[in-house]
């Protein structure tokens, strides 16, 4: 009886426990985050330094930044509009937010003017020259504080995630800060433009659209979150690789640098908006990441699953640097940004010499095979180490120019996703460690830079202490970040292949440690995936919304360097590019997004002369000649993807690089391209770009340090520049008073 009583008590306790646990369920608890009092700040000067005066206008709730030298005023409300003493829901809003209402599943936009300023839900205070604005969005029940301070050369705007308050009724998704601070009045001529760093860099002219709509571009800094479930993948992405944007407004310009939280930022540009007469560029910070999904209630619909929490440690800040006079254009922006990176220690001058060309050898891929009914994979060789050496030797002899060599897919899994870093070794089919050492020895003897590529992010096999279950990153919806590769024709999940997983961010240091230990004999290491892909990991708060990528990756790259390795990175994001000795697959154009007008080599203007730069592979491009001309324009040495052997089996792999790479078929074109340009690239390889200008004729003039000038004619017509006639698809360069001209027509496919 006593025992029964005991059991009953146990059962009751258990029931109580379960009941109490179930209490932490769906019912949302809301708290009041609305400030009891909204404070106002009187109009007037808040602070000033040698260059600028920071004013506050309480009538229009506007911050004004006056340049003492030029008297030009930048303001959160476009200054010409400010003078009209009018209001506009967009122009008069210092911030926009998007928030999600979990009760009805709706995603709403709130603009500060309508939701805070008009209703008096804005508190403005000043503390020691710093303005603090607290926006309370009544419908969303969200409080967002904005801190604005004047630094030596810039105006800094900061949002601290731990100061954001949510009542619990809705969830904050993103914040757009000062959407019209970096703006200009629409203008039909080219004296004004927006600058966005997509691809190599893009300009958007501000001519007012004859249509009713504006031209807009919007892109995530460092590319779309690789750990996001997408319902559709429509095209390859050409991402924003630098955390900056800018505007040129006649004789003035402004460069905005996202100093903190750049990984979580989206850069928006809206050009020629005929509704309000302004063109603007601004940053939006994503505080809650998401997955895309399909939901079925009565019928199917697409929906977003947002992360449950935000990263409270995150700090988001943008610094706005005004520019004037001769530096008020993208050349000035590039110089300023280069200077900024150098001072910050993020742009390290590599002692590597830029070669006249780069050879990317493809080692091989794992191909499917069947032995007695049992499917297995085997390494199909595309190029062995010794074959690579023979090709290098032959090209060197033919052209008398040294290449930089990048070995891709020489690890044990080839170009395929398999183990982390392909198992950290080289495939025995391709010659193994011995083969690599022989090639390395040859390279060192001849002063050739040699890099071997390792993928430390993608994997689909457990090995070397990395588990596919426990070491896979999580998406915003707390799913494993594992995705099927895309079908080649319709870009849809190909379930014939294994899912590709992303390594947990917290495990990346282990992967780097293993790499430097196991590949200690490898002198040059290529870490393209690590340096070009930014992704979230919702297993740890720091890594929410791609958070902490800049710091983490740059620290990891420094570890590799400290261990004596040289680093190559393909398509390097800004934080990695400044550290890399060599950057391959440098974007040559802006990616051709709708709304973008002009390609400018901004990326090259920042990194040329600090790292060695190599183009995307000419032999895989649709327009060999055009690409080479863009490479010449920005001093980026051409690159070629090469294999020694061809195999039907390789065509059936996921790689999109094999089809036009067999050496025997493209040898003549490679030699022709190198012979045409090697003298030029050897001359400009290690020099900085001083200026770049696009002429009305479509030709471009680039000045390198040391007084070297190159003119490239991309048009289909001959042009005359400074009395010199330049044929279509040709370039001329002047150094030491001597001008040489080179026509690229016929120099490749």
């Amino acid at each position: 009886m006593r025992k029964i009583k005991k059991y009953i008590i146990y059962m009751l306790n258990l029931s109580l426990l379960l009941l109490s646990l179930s209490a932490c369920s769906t019912e949302k608890v809301t708290v009041n985050v609305k400030p009891e009092k909204f404070e106002a700040l009187n109009s007037g000067t808040i602070t000033e330094n040698q260059k600028y005066i920071l004013d506050w206008d309480d009538t229009q709730k506007c911050i004004l930044l006056k340049n003492k030298e030029t008297s030009h005023i930048w303001s959160t409300l476009p200054y010409s509009f400010f003078l009209q003493n009018d209001t506009n829901i967009n122009l008069s809003s210092p911030i926009f937010i998007n928030y999600y209402n979990p009760n009805d599943g709706s995603l709403m936009t709130a603009k500060a003017f309508a939701d805070c300023i008009e209703s008096g839900n804005l508190s403005v205070t000043e503390d020691n020259g710093t303005i603090r604005m607290e926006f309370y969005f009544d419908d969303a029940e969200i409080l967002v504080p904005l801190v604005i301070s004047l630094n030596d050369n810039c105006l800094q705007v900061t949002v601290r995630a731990d100061e954001i308050k949510e009542s619990g009724k809705t969830q904050l998704i993103d914040i757009s800060v000062l959407p019209y601070f970096c703006s200009t009045v629409n203008s039909a001529d080219r004296s004004s433009y927006l600058f966005v760093p997509v691809g190599s860099g893009a300009l958007m002219y501000t001519d007012e659209d004859v249509q009713e709509f504006s031209r807009s571009y919007s892109g995530e800094v460092y590319g779309e979150d690789a750990a996001r479930y997408l319902l559709d993948d429509t095209a390859n992405e050409e991402p924003i690789r630098l955390p900056i944007f800018g505007v040129k407004a006649n004789d003035n310009a402004m460069l905005a640098i996202i100093e903190n939280g750049a990984e979580s930022a989206i850069i928006n540009a809206d050009a020629g908006n005929s509704r309000n007469g302004y063109s603007t560029a601004y940053a939006t910070f994503t505080v809650r990441g998401h997955d895309e999904t399909e939901v079925k209630r009565t019928d199917y619909s697409d929906a977003l699953i947002y992360a449950a929490e935000i990263n409270k440690k995150a700090v988001y800040s943008v610094c706005y640097y005004p520019l004037s006079g001769e530096s008020a254009d993208y050349n000035g922006m590039a110089a300023l940004y280069k200077d900024y990176l150098t001072k910050k220690g993020s742009l390290i001058d590599s002692d590597a010499e830029q070669s006249a060309y780069q050879l990317k050898f493809l080692g091989g891929s794992l191909v499917n095979d069947v032995i007695l009914g049992v499917p297995n994979t085997r390494m199909q060789s595309a190029t062995t180490f010794s074959e690579a050496q023979d090709i290098i030797k032959e090209l060197y002899e033919e052209t008398d120019a040294k290449p930089e060599v990048l070995l891709k897919g020489f690890a044990e899994d080839g170009l395929d996703i398999g183990r982390i870093a392909g198992g950290f070794g080289f495939s025995s089919v391709l010659g193994g460690k011995k083969g690599y050492l022989a090639l390395n020895e040859y390279s060192e003897e001849n002063g050739i830079s040699l890099f071997a590529e390792y993928d430390l992010i993608h994997f689909n096999n457990s090995s070397d202490g990395f588990s596919t279950i426990f070491d896979t990153a999580l998406t915003a919806g707390k799913q494993l970040a594992a995705f099927f590769p895309l079908k080649k024709n319709i870009r849809y999940a190909d379930e014939n292949y294994s899912k590709v997983r992303l390594l947990q961010r917290s495990v990346l240091p282990n992967a780097i440690e293993k790499l430097v230990n196991k590949a200690d004999y490898v002198s040059g290491i290529s870490l393209t995936a690590l340096g070009s892909i930014a992704y979230s990991d919702y297993s740890e708060q720091t890594y929410y919304a791609k958070g902490g990528t800049e710091k983490q990756v740059s620290n990891l790259l420094k570890v590799v360097k400290e261990n004596g390795h040289r680093i190559n990175i393909g398509k390097a994001n800004g934080y990695a590019a400044g550290i890399a000795d060599s950057i391959s697959d440098v974007p040559l154009t802006n990616g051709g997004y709708f709304g973008l007008d002009e390609s400018v080599p901004f990326y090259q203007m920042v990194f040329h002369g600090f790292s060695t730069l190599y183009s995307t592979s000419l032999n895989l491009s649709a327009d060999w000649c055009g690409e080479l001309l863009y490479a010449v324009e920005s001093g980026v040495s051409p690159s070629f993807t090469v294999t020694a052997n061809e195999s039907k089996a390789l065509a059936d792999t996921l790689s999109n690089e094999y089809y036009g790479s067999v050496y025997s078929g493209i040898k003549a074109d490679i030699i022709s391209a190198i012979k045409s340009t090697s003298d030029y690239f050897e001359l400009v390889g290690d020099r900085n770009i001083v200026s770049h200008k696009i002429l009305d004729s479509g030709a471009a003039v680039t000045q390198f340090s040391g007084g070297i000038t190159v003119i490239t004619n991309h048009s289909e017509n001959d042009v005359e520049i400074n009395g010199t006639k330049l044929q279509a698809n040709s370039f001329s360069y002047t150094s030491g008073g001597v001008t040489k001209t080179c026509n690229l027509t016929g120099g490749g496919q």
């Binding site: 095209a235 050409e238 059936d652």
Partner: protein
């Protein structure tokens, strides 16, 4: 006034067209197909044949935006853009606006043709507008002066309820006008040079299947007219676009053609209106009506297949066919043998880069350029052929004309630039064949999976081999036959036993004397489970060998999609399933056989299949594709022999009469289905259990 407008516009042109068009980094990769069989093809990356060159839109032309409905090119390479607001924009080869045309009626007033959906420009520069909403075709001169208004014809051929809503128009060199009317499934309306309606032309046919025929028959017998009228009628799919080549052959495209597998999207019509486009698969030639020009792959959204929809077609002077799929934004370039030259574009209705689409709606070609209109972006993307592309088109054109030797140098260059180009391999095979290099021809043909050329070259090769070595072959055959005769004679005389192991001997002779041997097996317990297990495994292995190692002309093996589990289930699995089900059923039917015996009988019965698998694999290397009847014959013989052995063996081990065996056989099949169902359910449960365990582990790990 117009002059002033043009001057103002020209200023904008200077601004716009001095922009450097830098769209070289392709947003998607070009691909082509490797046709494996009639129902399988593989997409592989290929070098770009076309590159996006520019985007023409309202901003670039300095005009107000309007929905673009259709585009067409004239003989001079000018592009005519039909805008939705009763305007035609004429753009020259360098994408500059030449003029804007409005149509002036007979009364001198401007004619409204808002939301017209089709435009055509004749050799004489007359403009034909498919004024869809107003049910007419407007014919005007180059300046927009109305010449003729074609309205709904009065003809007994036209059904009473026929609505004339022209969407696409084209005209041949003799002046015959082809008009597609929206919703008309009778084909295109054909008008003579005086615009008199003649007839309908080239309708798609309703696909008739045995089931649909039986259904129709049943309906005829069982339903009255009223009931039949209430049912949905299966109608032919209407053309969405029509184009003519320089020889006046009409090409049509049809959008989504069937519920499951789309076929026959592109047709080339004879003057009589029948389809003359064919696809040669080497072993068979099929009418293009049965060929899928799109992908077998399909994306799934909201539980539904996202199916391709061919909305536009154009033909260039060399006869290459350009078809536009609006669903994925893909542009396909086919030759007249239905070989895919290249496919490019994309965007899946969300394109945000040049060369991708939001709502691709029309396609036009002019010399070396392709233009694709997007009705959502209100833009026209211009593609320019690449150097590589022009070589490919020229080489393939020569090859289609039979000029194999002339095309050879081009193909050699192309194969060096793109190893995935199978057209090059096929053409080089044909060239080698023409030159009499049959071995080389076979090598190339094999690389190209070109069964026809391989067959021809192999035949020539075999003929040459036989004529060169006739005496030796003859002697070898004589020696072989004599050897066998001697062996039989000697073994009979000396009573030599070739297979000494009695169990093996019985197993082998089951094929020849099933009654005698199974009786032996039953009575003398000479059946061997081990041998049966080995035979089961051999059956699996031989099936794999047959699948994997058969000559390429007779197998569709693909290592990527190869499923060993399926192969195992259809061999060893089937043996076990039959054995278990048959034993279980037979026990209820008072059968005497043990499970072991059923398994032995079933496995032994597979011996002919094993022999077939191995023999047909070997034979496949020496026979012609057209001789596949030999392989089919061998297969049927093996099946029949296996069946006989199984029937006889099962009857003997269970001591069943034939009727009883047949009854148990039916019950066995039912039991097999039941077992499969149960296994499937258990498998599902286990899979869910495993997922649950993984989820629990993950939850614990991340909390």
């Amino acid at each position: 006034m117009i002059k002033k407008q043009l001057t103002a516009l020209s200023l904008i042109f200077i601004f716009i067209f001095s922009l450097r068009l830098s769209v070289s980094a392709a947003p998607t990769d070009s691909f082509t197909h490797w046709d494996l069989t009639e129902n399988t093809k593989k997409a592989v990356y290929t070098k770009d044949v076309y590159k996006s060159d520019a985007v023409i839109n309202a901003r670039s032309l300095g005009l107000d935006s309007s929905i673009i409905q259709d585009i067409v090119c004239d003989k001079n390479g000018n592009i005519y853009i039909l805008a939705g607001d009763s305007r035609i924009l004429v753009v020259d080869e360098s994408y500059k606006l030449i003029k804007t045309i409005s149509v002036t009626g007979f009364d001198g007033l401007t004619v409204d043709f808002t939301d017209s959906r089709g435009i055509y420009i004749s050799e004489e520069n007359d403009i034909y507008i498919g004024d869809t909403n107003n049910g007419r075709v407007l014919v005007c001169d180059a300046e927009g002066k109305l010449i003729k208004e074609i309205i709904r014809p009065e003809s007994p051929i036209l059904p009473e309820d026929f609505a004339f809503t022209p969407t696409k128009i084209t005209r041949d060199s003799k002046g015959y006008l082809y008009v597609i009317s929206d919703g008309a499934y009778y084909g295109a309306l054909l008008f003579d040079s005086n615009y008199e309606f003649l007839s309908f032309y080239g309708a798609n046919a309703v696909e008739a299947t045995v089931l649909s025929t039986l259904q129709n028959l049943w309906d005829m017998l069982t339903k009255n007219d009223e009931k039949r009228s209430q049912e949905m009628k299966k109608l032919p799919y209407q053309f969405l676009d029509i184009a003519l080549d320089k020889e006046d052959f009409a090409y049509t495209c049809t959008g989504i053609t069937a519920d499951e597998s789309g076929v026959g999207q592109i047709r080339m019509l004879s003057p009589g209106g029948s389809n003359i486009l064919e696809k040669n698969f080497g072993t068979s030639v099929v009418d293009s009506g049965a060929f899928n020009f799109a992908e077998f792959d399909v994306a799934v959204r909201h539980d539904k297949d996202v199916r391709q929809n061919f909305v536009g077609i154009a033909v260039d002077d060399m006869g290459f066919i350009y078809a536009l799929d609006s669903t994925y934004g893909l542009i396909y370039v086919y030759d007249t043998d239905c070989n895919l030259v290249t496919a490019f574009g994309g965007g899946k209705n969300s394109g945000d880069r040049i060369g991708t689409y939001s709502a691709a709606c029309a396609i036009a070609v002019s010399e070396d350029k392709v233009f694709v209109a997007d009705s959502l972006q209100n833009s026209v993307t211009a593609y320019e052929i690449t150097e590589y592309g022009s070589k490919v088109l020229e080489a393939q054109s020569l090859t289609l004309d039979g000029e194999y030797i002339a095309a050879k140098p081009l193909w050699q260059e192309i194969s060096g630039l793109d190893q995935n180009n199978r057209l090059a391999m096929s053409a080089l095979g044909k060239a080698a064949y023409s030159e009499g290099n049959y071995k080389e021809a076979m090598t190339y043909a094999k690389m190209a999976m070109d069964r026809t050329t391989y067959d021809q070259a192999m035949k020539k090769n075999q003929e040459a081999f036989i004529s060169e070595n006739f005496v030796l072959i003859f002697l070898l055959i004589i020696t072989f036959l004599a050897g066998i005769a001697v062996l039989i004679a000697v073994s009979k005389k000396r009573q030599i036993v070739l297979v000494k192991n009695q169990r093996v001997s019985i197993m082998l002779s089951c094929c020849v004397h099933p009654f005698r041997n199974f009786n032996d097996k039953k009575k003398k317990k000479m059946g061997s489970v081990i041998l049966a297990a080995i035979l089961s495994v051999l059956f699996f292995v031989s099936a794999v060998i047959n699948m994997v190692y058969k000559d390429f002309r007779f197998t569709s093996f693909d290592a990527v999609t190869y499923n060993p589990v399926y192969q195992l289930v259809t061999t060893v699995g089937l043996i076990l399933l039959w054995s278990v089900a048959n034993w279980a059923v037979s026990v209820l039917q008072q059968g005497k056989g043990l499970f072991k015996e059923v398994f032995i009988v079933t496995s032994y019965a597979m011996l002919p299949m094993i022999v077939y698998n191995l023999l047909s694999t070997a034979v496949s290397y020496f026979i012609n594709s057209s001789s596949d009847v030999l392989l089919s014959g061998m297969y049927v013989a093996a099946i029949i022999l296996s069946g006989i052995i199984l029937v006889v063996g099962t009857m003997i081990v269970h001591e069943f009469s034939l009727p009883r065996f047949l009854l148990t056989a039916i019950l066995t099949v039912l039991a097999m289905i039941l077992i499969v169902f149960v296994l499937f359910m258990v498998g599902m449960l286990l899979s869910q259990l495993w997922q649950f365990i993984v989820t629990v582990i993950l939850e614990i790990t991340y909390r």
